[in-house]
């Protein structure tokens, strides 16, 4: 038997999500240009939700701060790849970055660099924040997001300010994003079943009992936070290369609430939850968009008035929670019903 740790390796819990996300990408992604784009965005969001799952889901510590890591990942990846004249123009006021304007790499190296820098930033901030838990941690991480946002938005020596950075090269091949998502699933899965991952879950389940077993809560949380920062940075990097532009506003409240909601509605305790939450929320949004335009959904026309989409999405959101109040996946990993197996 293969062993990542104390928990048995489960074929379906690793390959299930990979197969589902691949199948969706294949089928939805090729229907139309617009659905391909939404698929790409969804893959970016999924990466972010995975990042949140690693930390928030396993440690039980709420974080509103991951937008900072996405922001940094996105900014750096955007800066490393944008055309030199655009960079020069966008950063006219920016002495700090002027020197870096000529630096130029390809998208993939840029993604890696930006994720590493995000992870580093997560480790740095985490070394202070990981002493907190509960709502205090939630607010402290929110404060982190607030500071990052405020500084990048206002300080033109560091960030681009309120202006957008255009013409960032895009990844047009959805399968590359899919590959990154699949790799992340593997990483997150292995982390979750590893000794370290289980130790982290133990601290979530009972923060008083864990130390009695020699578990250093601070240390395991910090490691998870750093990994989570890496994935969040990667998600930001992917996002900037799908959107083709960088804007500080993209990583603030809306982004934070949306991704966190995806995780929690899906069920924060498992990889399946992260997956289902992302898919369900994105799908509802897309279906409603199509209904608003009176586009057929599997041949059926169901029209809703223009502008009503947003209300219905939010209502659906609440309805899902009322229906399954501990998340769609209910914190459990899935098991294939026995009659399927043989």
């Amino acid at each position: 038997m293969r062993h990542g740790g104390v928990t048995k390796f489960s074929f379906q819990n690793l390959f299930g999500p990979i197969i589902i996300i691949s199948a969706l990408t294949f089928f939805v992604g090729r229907t139309s240009a617009s659905l391909q784009l939404i698929t790409q965005f969804t893959l970016c969001y999924f990466m972010m939700v995975l990042a949140l799952q690693v930390f928030v889901g396993n440690s039980g510590v709420l974080s509103f701060g991951h937008g900072s890591f996405a922001l940094i990942g996105s900014y750096i990846s955007g800066m490393l790849t944008a055309p030199i004249n655009i960079k020069g123009h966008a950063l006219a006021m920016n002495q700090l970055w002027q020197a870096l304007v000529p630096l130029h790499t390809n998208i993939y190296l840029a993604l890696l660099i930006s994720a590493i820098i995000s992870a580093f930033f997560a480790a740095l901030t985490g070394s202070l924040l990981m002493r907190l838990s509960g709502l205090s941690a939630g607010i402290a991480t929110f404060a982190l997001l607030g500071v990052t946002y405020n500084v990048f938005f206002n300080n033109k020596r560091i960030g681009p300010g309120s202006q957008a950075l255009p013409a960032v090269p895009t990844i047009s091949n959805t399968y590359i994003l899919l590959l990154l998502a699949a790799l992340a699933i593997v990483v997150v899965y292995l982390f979750n079943i590893s000794s370290l991952g289980r130790t982290l879950i133990a601290t979530r389940e009972d923060a008083m009992a864990a130390p009695a077993l020699g578990i250093n809560i601070y240390r395991v949380r910090l490691i998870a936070f750093t990994l989570s920062g890496f994935l969040a940075g990667l998600s930001g990097g992917m996002y900037v290369h799908v959107a083709g532009t960088f804007q500080v506003q993209d990583y603030y409240l809306e982004f934070t609430f949306l991704t966190l909601s995806m995780l929690i509605i899906g069920g924060s305790a498992s990889l399946w939850g992260a997956l289902l939450g992302t898919i369900v929320i994105s799908t509802i949004g897309q279906l409603l968009l199509m209904m608003e335009q009176d586009l057929p959904i599997f041949g059926i026309h169901a029209h809703i008035p223009e502008g009503s989409r947003a209300v219905i999405i939010a209502v659906a959101f609440v309805a899902v929670l009322l229906w399954r109040s501990s998340g769609i996946a209910n914190g459990k990993e899935f098991s294939i019903p026995t009659f399927w197996r043989k």
Partner: protein
């Protein structure tokens, strides 16, 4: 001073004006099973919290093998061989029984393989190996206590501190617990401190008892002696006797 022993020396603790522990000194030798008795509010839980690093004493020192433990966190103490169980079980409810127990070993940095082996053998010794795939939240109260004990034992501690392990246990479970304790001592030879209100259990399992009353140590010696001791009787047992 015994080099290998777990010792508390002149430990005292107050909460505000309330003196909960007053210069309490005890020694637990390797492999020794010591009972800790005392009326409600005597300071027993506070004392073991201090030993395990969950609370900080105002004065005195706690040492293991002569190393002072003062100022060390619970996890650091666990690494030095001090394990504890909790009055209320405190299992990791979403994890399986096997994972719970394995974490006892993993928390101290043992490999997954070692953890797995230990888990299996401990669960077997306690006779609850069938429970291993169940989620901890779904097992009964009595079994949960045994799992908690197994989890602490999986660390192969030098000293094991237990807070009322038999509270709420059925009368047929209590002997199982004693049996379990005995096999643990035999297997890994750790010293134990057992806080319990079930006097029968204490006299059956322990070779020595300590009695605390309002923060002062009033007895340290043979369990059967304790039952006859006047001060112990008036402070703790009353005329209710042993059930």
């Amino acid at each position: 001073m015994n080099k290998k022993a777990f010792q508390a020396d002149q430990v005292s603790k107050s909460f505000g004006a309330l003196r909960v522990l007053d210069n309490v000194s005890i020694t637990i030798n390797p492999g020794e099973v010591v009972g800790l008795l005392g009326p409600n509010g005597a300071g027993k839980s506070t004392f073991i919290n201090i030993l395990a690093g969950y609370e900080r004493q105002d004065g005195g020192t706690v040492t293991i093998d002569g190393h002072p433990l003062d100022g060390l966190s619970p996890s650091a103490r666990a690494k030095l061989g001090v394990a504890r169980t909790f009055q209320s079980g405190r299992l990791f409810s979403k994890l399986t029984v096997a994972e719970n127990v394995a974490l006892g070993a993993i928390g101290l940095g043992n490999s997954a393989k070692v953890a797995k082996e230990r888990t299996q053998s401990i669960l077997e010794i306690l006779g609850i190996e069938k429970l291993s795939p169940y989620q901890a939240e779904s097992i009964s109260h009595g079994n949960a206590r045994l799992v908690g004990l197994a989890r602490a034992v999986a660390a192969h501690p030098e000293y094991l501190i237990m807070d009322e392990p038999a509270a709420g246990l059925n009368e047929d479970e209590a002997p199982r617990l004693i049996h379990a304790l005995e096999s643990v001592t035999k297997n890994i030879g750790c010293g134990m401190l057992l806080v319990e209100h079930n006097v029968k259990l204490v006299t059956d399992a322990c070779s020595r008892v300590i009695v605390l009353a309002t923060g002062t140590l009033i007895f340290d010696g043979d369990p059967h002696e304790a039952l006859k001791h006047e001060e112990v009787k008036s402070a703790y047992l009353g005329n209710a006797g042993v059930h």
